[in-house]
């Protein structure tokens, strides 16, 4: 009896997992499929699951429908600057919040938490006004400066740093290490899993971000890939889903590449952050 019910549960579990995987993976596979279909196939009924002949030309078509090289360059510039700046600011901040005593520490950390919980939909207007006043709206700064620091990252790294025994830091002090050495040579290497979680989240969320670049950009010059791809929709009046999906494929390709190269550490860091 016991054995039987165990088996039933195992089967039920497997079926549930299969459904979950299907729900998550199907839209992605659907995107891949559509991006390779002909105009005829996307409007055929019943729907086409696997294109007869993969239409690689859709990618070229999508790429040529706008200044995608420029978009790519903008996206890359933003992502690299944002992540670099975050590294420089976030790590010492998290260390200070975790291990140093200074006046107003709790208040300041409270502010960080508030920043953590405030959605961009609330802050974009004042930031927009500020950036306009600075007259930097036709540069990439409005998409970089607000993200120089990362409240979520500070929070996560601080939690991590707090678990590091004080004795280690004291030992480093006795080894004549200054604060920067302690932060970057001792603390940061220990926080690697937390750090890669933070960098990965940053990367994915900024790379895919649609809202912020949409409200912060007025000219083609400063637009990013997600905006460019969204604009494919409007170019010819009718919606070419295959072209749009090809554009989306171009957008997610870097994420896939990153995933393929560091899937192990990504899984580890997600497991670490409890997000699994």
């Amino acid at each position: 009896m016991y054995k039987l019910s165990q088996k039933v549960w195992a089967v039920a579990g497997t079926i549930l997992k299969a459904i979950l995987i299907f729900v998550f993976v199907f839209p992605f596979l659907w995107m891949v499929s559509v991006s390779l279909q002909t105009d005829m196939e996307i409007s055929s009924s019943p729907i086409t699951l696997i294109p007869a002949v993969p239409q690689w030309i859709n990618f070229a078509a999508a790429w040529s429908k706008g200044p995608f090289l420029l978009y790519l360059k903008n996206s890359l510039t933003i992502i690299v600057s944002v992540i670099a700046m975050q590294m420089v600011i976030m790590v010492p901040a998290a260390y200070a919040f975790a291990k140093c005593d200074f006046k107003g520490k709790n208040l300041m950390f409270g502010l960080v938490l508030i920043a953590f919980m405030t959605p961009g939909q609330i802050t974009f207007l004042p930031i927009y006004q500020m950036m306009s006043e600075w007259e930097v709206m036709d540069t990439l700064l409005p998409q970089i400066v607000p993200f120089m620091t990362n409240a979520f990252g500070i929070f996560l790294l601080r939690q991590y740093f707090m678990q590091v025994p004080d004795e280690l830091i004291e030992a480093a002090k006795l080894d004549n290490a200054g604060s920067l050495k302690i932060v970057y040579k001792l603390m940061l290497p220990m926080a690697k899993p937390a750090m890669s979680t933070v960098v990965l989240f940053s990367f994915v969320s900024h790379w895919n971000d649609y809202f912020w670049p949409l409200v912060m950009t007025q000219t083609t010059n400063v637009r990013t890939l997600p905006i460019g791809i969204a604009m494919l929709k409007n170019t010819e009046g009718i919606t070419n889903w295959n072209i749009i999906m090809a554009g989306n494929m171009i957008l997610v390709m870097p994420i896939l590449v990153v995933y393929v190269f560091c899937s192990k550490s990504i899984i580890r860091s997600f497991a670490y952050s409890g997000i699994k």
Binding site: P165, E167, L168, E170, A171, A172, K173, L174, D175, N176, A177, G178, K181, K185, L186, P189, M190, K192
Partner: protein
Amino acid sequence: MAAIEFKNVTKKFGNHVVIENINLKIKDGSFTVLVGPSGCGKTTLLRMIAGIGPQTSGQVLIDGNDVTEIAPGKRGVAMVFQNYAIYPTMNVRDNIEFGLKNNKIPKEERDILVKEASEKVGLEEYLDRKPSTLSGGQRQRVALARAMVKKPSVFLMDEPLSNLDAKLRVQMRVELIELHKKLQTTFVYVTHDQVEAMSMADTVILMNNGFIQQIAAPEEIYRNPANLFTARFIGSPAMNIVELNDGIRLGFRPERGILSDEADPKADFSVEGQVVTREMLGRETTYSVRDPQGRTYMVTGLDDPYKVDDKVYLNVSLKHIYFFGKDEQRIYEEDAQQYQACLEALRRGL
């Protein structure tokens, strides 16, 4: 090489006074052991020397210079922490080298120093290993090498052997004594274990509740305890303490008690009793003897003539008896008046 001095040093955590107005000198080149029960302030004292838990008031001097304003890394001290505090992401070499790098020692010189230190502690095969792959004893050695390599003038060690198993602990004790001989620098060693203190120190500083109870060589602190706390803390089994009249107490070491079948008329202290337990430890035997009033005495001896429940007499001669006054301070023979009172109390009996 450096002497250490505490001048009117007080340490508080918030309102909690842990050390109050301590004055203390640690001799240059000595192997000084700070010993006392857990929570008495040993670590606190050590951390003040290192500069990682500075005093609330007073001065700490190293080689005559007030080091209050000097950063921990610039005091010429090295510390071995209780949990070793090895940098977990660095391999053994990087751990040992970290301080040298921070002190801008050139690479060639660093290599020589690291080699030297790792050989001294027997780690030369392990330089490329990560700490997580090392045993407790090996980590301990990494911590030692890391301290040694900087050629500090003061070596601070906070219960460095407490995480090792008994056998390794005995072996490391010997190695530390030899290391001290070789390096000839000041060692300040913290432990709660009086056996460790007695076996390693040339000077023992016994503390209790933030106060210094006695500073003396191990033989001296054993033979001549200055107060009741010291008498009880040092030695195992502990000194037998018996209450006399007027708050006076007498004490004698277990090995000074002599058991016999009959009362010894020449003994200055003699009680009748019964053997309650007998522990045969090989070389010697420990008896506990209970007298009719229910007091228990520990007696050790090389002979092993008695069994449990045997009736015995316990005799101690005056030259092995210590007296302590109401204030728990020792009453010395030189203090004739008080000493006479003690003898009187002894004569009047228990």
